[in-house]
């Protein structure tokens, strides 16, 4: 009965919706409000495949390129680089006391110190994008003022650990370091300029109470420093890539990198036992299994490393307390970042291809617009970066593809410095907080700074 009615309705949907009440005493069963979205999605996908230009060799090559790029990421970067980096980001959000950092951003804070802390604290505080804006507003209105707040807003997305690690790994250490240093330096400069421009508008702050998240760290600063050194050491030694030139010092390090990795893993195991209450026998069993796999298959270190990651997750999740929180916050990152990154890699590969080959967009378009290191190329890259929305970390594969297609290193850095901090949607949100004038000044300063740093970097390294 029901199905008959609904089929009848579907055949004349528009008449039915607009039909006057007198003709149709019952309201229509067809609720277009809930139907049109999935329906247009299905129709859209169908149309996409209907017109899929498979016969064009450029298109089919681009699809292969896109898959090849995703394969390269999966083989080279996910297990060795992204997985440890995600655990590091999770550890930062759990083990580093945010309150300890934020007391330097309060109203009574020393001015010079507050700029310094604001410019680097993004790596600790801005780990979740939804905390950035409330914190920014808090620092501005209740805390250290507009300058440090702007410094925090600008540097936060750019010096997030995951972003820096991935940038250095994929785009090369120079651009990774330039990105981190540039973000920190320019955040202070932009913050100071904003402070001077709008000094008159800053009202005296009411000495109101500030509520900080409670400190939760049980370890001393030294212990935390040691802990993060071991985590970063593990990441760096595992991702150490084969040097371009055979022989020499770097080759020697490459040859023994798994020994280093194992050593750091051993230290990490010790810390799990000593500081986090993981049972000794569990860590020993995990260590023996990983070591056995490493010795049994010395030419396939990924197997032992993968087993190590699994064992590590088991250790974290079978111990109650902060290890569980660590696992959960790492999982939150993984869940947020990995799908977006995969989509970013596929799209970048489809549009631009891997370095050395072409995707849908001809390489000469890219090199024509942002090749070399001209003022125009840098300015264009900054403006595009400022307007475009990059989901977390997707700027890395996109830039890799752009550089492969002929983008200069200067414009690439310009895009990296203007990109993640700004996008059209995020400008609208900032405007609702800061007002039009301050937002325009902020965006303008970011674009100018990014262009300038691109020019400088390009002339040094291209």
């Amino acid at each position: 009965m029901n199905s008959v009615v609904s089929t009848a309705n579907k055949s004349t949907p528009f008449n039915d919706v607009s039909a006057p009440e007198t003709h149709a005493p019952d309201p229509s069963q067809v609720d277009w409000k809930s139907i049109w979205k999935p329906l247009s999605l299905i129709a859209g996908v169908f149309l996409l495949f209907f017109f899929l230009p498979l016969e064009s060799s450029r298109f089919s090559n681009s699809v292969i390129e896109s898959l090849a790029l995703a394969k390269w990421y999966a083989q080279e970067h996910v297990l060795l680089c992204l997985v440890p980096a995600i655990f590091i980001a999770g550890a930062i959000s759990v083990f580093v006391s945010q309150a300890a950092v934020m007391k330097y951003l309060g109203a009574g804070a020393h001015k010079a110190l507050s700029y310094g802390v604001a410019s680097v604290s993004g790596s600790v505080l801005a780990v979740c994008s939804c905390t950035v804006l409330p914190l920014f507003a808090g620092i501005w209105k209740r805390g250290a003022g507009l300058g440090p707040a702007i410094a925090f807003l600008y540097s936060g997305p750019a010096i997030n650990v995951l972003a820096i690690i991935l940038t250095a790994r994929i785009l090369g250490p120079e651009i990774g370091i330039a990105r981190a240093v540039g973000a920190v330096l320019f955040s202070v400069v932009i913050g100071l300029i904003m402070h001077l421009m709008f000094r008159k508008e800053e009202q005296a702050k009411a000495a109101a109470a500030i509520y900080l998240p409670e400190p939760e760290a049980e370890r001393s600063l030294g212990q935390n420093a040691l802990f993060f050194t071991v985590l970063v050491g593990l990441l760096v030694s595992a991702t150490w890539s084969r040097p371009e030139i055979a022989g020499g010092f770097w080759q020697t390090i490459y040859a023994v990198k798994w020994l280093f990795t194992g050593g750091f893993a051993l230290l990490l195991g010790g810390m799990l036992i000593r500081w986090m209450g993981v049972k000794t026998y569990k860590v020993v069993i995990a260590g023996v299994i990983v070591l056995a796999l490493a010795l049994a298959m010395p030419h396939n270190p990924l197997i032992a490393f993968g087993a190590g990651v699994v064992a590590f997750v088991v250790l974290l999740t079978t111990t109650r307390g902060e290890t569980e929180t660590w696992f959960l916050s790492s999982w939150d990152f993984a869940k947020q970042i990995l799908p977006l990154l995969l989509a970013g890699v596929l799209v970048a590969g489809l549009l631009l291809g891997r370095p050395g080959s072409e995707g849908l967009i001809p390489s000469h378009w890219v090199s024509g617009l942002v090749g070399g290191n001209s003022l125009w190329a840098n300015l264009f890259a900054s403006i595009v970066g400022a307007l475009m929305y990059f989901a977390t970390l997707t700027e890395v594969p996109i830039l890799q593809a752009l550089i492969g297609a002929g983008m200069g290193k200067g414009p690439a850095l310009a895009l990296l410095l203007a990109g993640p901090a700004l996008s059209l949607p995020n400008m609208l949100v900032i405007r609702s907080v800061l007002g039009l004038k301050k937002t325009a000044a902020f965006v303008g300063l970011v674009v100018i700074m990014a262009t300038a740093s691109g020019l400088i970097f390009g002339s040094l390294f291209d």
Binding site: Q98, L105, T131, L133, P134, G138, I139, Y211, L212, P213
Partner: protein
């Protein structure tokens, strides 16, 4: 009783709102629960971190998802 949940709408803030709502129904207390999503209004409370829970004007928790028993203790 007046309970406010401060947060721009991230998953952690939703979770906090759910926990508070459950705590209110379970204790059967007469309380109004309001979500504050405006960033400047959140900053006005002086909280450096979200989600935050405010009960009758007192900031009770900042920057984390509170446990249900905590919430019950605040409103009980």
């Amino acid at each position: 009783m007046e309970i406010k949940i401060l947060g721009p709408g991230c998953p952690k803030c939703q979770k906090t709102a759910e926990i508070v709502a459950e705590a209110v129904t379970e204790t059967g207390i007469d309380a109004s629960v309001e979500k504050v999503t405006d960033i400047m209004e959140i900053a006005g409370y002086g909280v450096f971190g979200t989600p935050a829970v405010v009960v009758n004007g007192d900031v009770k928790s900042v920057g984390k998802i509170p446990s249900k028993s905590d919430v019950k203790a605040w409103i009980g």
